[in-house]
Amino acid sequence: MRIEVTRDWCLHMAELEGDEEIGAGSLSVDPTFDGESLTQSGAPVVAFGRFVSLMRRDRGLTVEKLADDADVDVAELVSVEEDSRYKPEVRTVYQLANFFDVPRTTLLQVAGLTLPKDDRIVEESVRFAARSEPVDALSREERAALEAFVAVLSEDRTKDPSLG
């Protein structure tokens, strides 16, 4: 459907519209994306930092190399791995999800940036954090825990729009 409007019409209406908001539609909550930050809770998110650390070590990368390869800030990456109360930027989680090939929306939940829609993600995050230790070498147990956690994160891959 083609619509014919002139530049003058667009300009005049844009001026009339000014800085008014335009949103319309039902306010019912979508179940798949809440978009609300959990930063107000201040709850620690141990699993996210542990996950990033183990995935990095599993690939034999330094923090600096991962920051470079995933195009994230190295100082933020250090904070992610070492401070369980640190809330990363959304873009950082997106970049890391892309780099590690796990669903972005699920990793946002693990990082505490969106409300978990699946209690299992919370449970598995706690279980994963408890089974892994931030040491230099990846033990067989840690690798098993990491692989199990990645499998859980990827379960919704077919349903996750972030992976197209």
Binding site: M1, R2, I3, S26
Partner: protein, 213 residues
């Protein structure tokens, strides 16, 4: 998917100049990718800034819950739900989904007549004054309302449209668009949103308001 693009213009707030844009009669994968990769991070970042600035939760953007991929997958596969999007500088600036089948007019003067109902319409986060000061582009709302009117005309509904406005957008639909505010919808599913409706005369006036189109 066959997409028809119409040449339109948006007002760049920073430069004060108009910029060429495209009005697409669809929401495509490109729009949904923009929503995921560009809109969501900007929206979450803006919400974080509001939170840190002590802005109360009820003043956060109410559309933060909307999932355009889900809405699109649910609605736009059906002929009864056409969609539009605005693209400028390769980025999606606004999206809208319509319903041209199931809703009927409520205003007494046109009660029961067919109309086009605006299911959802949203501006890109960077165009929203409550999130970005100054916003990047103006005119997204007017062009999408114009698209809804033209869609109504094409259906033979003479420009009649209706919608439930988000609370902060009531002024736009009442003043800029000249729609009639019927008040808070008694349906608890929409409360406390106001329902707005546009008559044929109001649609004509809206189009004429912008000058020769």
């Amino acid at each position: 998917m066959s997409v028809t693009s119409s040449a339109v213009f948006l007002l760049n707030v920073e430069t004060g100049e108009t910029e060429s844009a495209e009005l697409w009669d669809a929401i495509t994968e490109q729009q949904l990718a923009d929503w995921e990769a560009e809109w969501i991070p900007e929206l979450l970042g803006a919400i974080r800034r509001l939170h840190r600035a002590g802005v109360p939760r009820h003043a956060w953007p109410q559309s933060r819950h909307w999932d355009w991929r889900k809405k699109t997958a649910t609605l736009t596969g059906m002929l009864a739900h056409p969609a539009f999007s605005l693209v400028c500088r390769g980025l999606t600036q606004g999206m809208m989904i319509l319903d041209n089948t199931t809703k009927r007019c409520r205003l007494p003067a046109q009660a029961g007549k067919n109309m086009v109902y605006v299911e959802y319409v949203e501006n890109a986060p960077w165009n929203r004054p409550e999130l970005f000061d100054p916003p990047r582009y103006r005119g997204v709302g007017s062009l999408l309302v114009r698209a809804a009117i033209e869609s109504s005309r094409q259906e033979g509904f003479k420009g009649r449209i209706g919608l439930h406005s988000l609370p902060q957008a009531n002024t736009f639909y009442a003043r800029t668009c000249g729609m009639t505010d019927i008040g808070v919808d008694p349906d608890p599913g929409y409360s406390p949103m106001h329902y707005f409706e546009m008559t044929q005369e109001q649609a004509d006036a809206f189009v004429e308001k912008g000058g020769k189109s």
